[in-house]
Amino acid sequence: MLIGRKEEGKGTSNYPRLLQVMNSRGFTILEVFLISVLMIWIITAVTSVLQIGEFSNTVSTARIELQQEVRRAMDTMITDLRQTSREKLSVELANGSLPFFSDLSNDTAFTDPLFKVCLGYNSSAKAVNWSSNEIGYTFNASNNVIVRTDNSTSQAWQFNNISDLEFRKLDVNLLGINITGEKVARGNLRPTFSLQAEVRLRNE
């Protein structure tokens, strides 16, 4: 049985079978079936490849965005903290007290640093010019964000997808920062990224 109209005079036994098919005006059910199977197989394969590619792309995009966010938070904190001094940096301990960094013993963990930054030096007065405003970093675990506040402005910067933030005194003028980020890529797939840094407080 043929689908469509067979071209007259070209379906003779002298032609090879392939040429007969090429020259026919329709397809047999077998041909349609084979083509359908082939097409389904090709489409399934292509779709699978595309799905894997899209999944891989989604995960890697989430991972890259997470890394960028964590790095941005770390860079901002490092740049700010470098410019303070141990006497101008107050912190919060687990017991709720708010000592200065200089009062901490080494290897003490703390949160919520609040500090002034150096703006220059008054040569005649022989004193450092400190900012009148204070910069603070707070980690909000319920929203997974680090919030940078500067009390000279009502604006606050926010760093998203942060799952943990830890500060630790390492030495007299040395401070350790540990940030962990986590971002939902798809479903339960949540890539994580951790970054550690040591910051030397440049001012005495």
Partner: protein, 292 residues
């Protein structure tokens, strides 16, 4: 109906979709790559600026200084100004030139104060830890102190090692030099002398500043203005002239001998000139901030 072109159209459509996907992925990759490159360059620029500060700090002087680290595209440019007495402002810019010729620059401003040693501990012509033996036609204008307990750190207000490091950094350090080989003109010089040998100056030698001899010294001639500090046994003979102050930080049982036509004069002006040299040894970064 002629269907022979369907395969071509279908193929072209598939190729177009793949091309769009590839282009999209490529652009995204390039964009992320550029972001990373700029972030890396920013970090490099910061440390280049710090390198500029460190370079100026090690050899503090007013003026400009430029250099690069490891390659031409990693540059620092510094400007140093003495803004007040003994206070210097260093502006340092670190720059990384990217492949597309764009620049990433970070700027740091640092204030440094210098602290010359106090002259109050330099009131005697000669101070020695043991006994002082003076013979012949020696003339000492000024007081002498024997059986002292000399401490370099308490006299100068800084550690001897810092002075040594400064002398080394400026190429003014010697080990077992030949007689009269030391060149010290209003500078800080450090001489290491091996045990069993002695540092010798003879007639015709001239020097000024601070001369520290880490070992025994045998001075038989020459002129020196400033502070001579010997960490060992000191012998002076012949006809040397010394204007300033002499210290022999030796063991308590060692005699310092001064014989012949030695002339020693306590001189406040040359002592102060010498002590002013320590300002660049005893320096402190008093403020540091990044300009954004």
């Amino acid at each position: 109906m002629n269907r022979q072109g369907v395969a071509l159209i279908f193929t072209l459509l598939v190729l177009m979709v793949l091309a769009i996907l590839s282009a999209s992925f490529f652009l995204k990759t390039i964009n992320e790559s550029n972001l990373v490159k700029r972030q890396v360059a920013s970090t490099q620029a910061f440390w280049l600026a710090e390198a500029g500060v460190a370079q100026v700090f090690s050899n503090l002087t007013s003026g400009t200084l430029s250099g690069n680290v490891s390659r031409d595209t990693f540059r620092y440019n510094t400007t140093t100004v003495e803004v007040y007495g003994n206070t210097y402002q260093i502006n340092s810019a670190g720059t990384v030139i990217l492949a597309d010729a764009s620049n990433i620059t970070r700027n740091i401003t640092v204030f440094v104060t210098t602290h010359p040693s106090n002259a109050s501990g330099f009131t005697n012509a000669i101070e020695v830890n043991g006994n002082l033996t003076v013979r012949g036609s020696v003339e000492i204008n000024g007081t002498n102190v024997t059986n002292a307990s000399l401490s370099f750190t308490s006299k100068f207000g800084l550690e001897a090692e810092k002075l040594r490091a400064y002398a080394i950094a400026h190429g003014n350090n010697y080990t077992d030099p030949d007689p009269n080989d030391i060149v010290v003109n209003n500078e800080i010089a450090w001489v290491d002398v091996t045990e069993g040998k002695s540092m010798i100056t003879r007639t015709g030698w001239n020097g000024s500043g601070i001369l520290v001899i880490n070992g025994d010294a045998d001075i038989t001639g020459g002129n020196f203005s400033g502070i001579l500090w010997v960490i060992g046994a000191l012998k002076m003979s012949g006809n040397p002239n010394d204007f300033g102050a002499i210290f022999a930080e030796c063991d308590a049982d060692i005699n310092t001998t001064v014989t012949g036509n030695v002339y020693i004069e306590h001189n406040s002006a040359t002592i102060q000139d010498a002590l002013n040299l320590t300002a660049f040894v005893n320096k402190t970064i008093v403020s540091w901030n990044e300009i954004r």
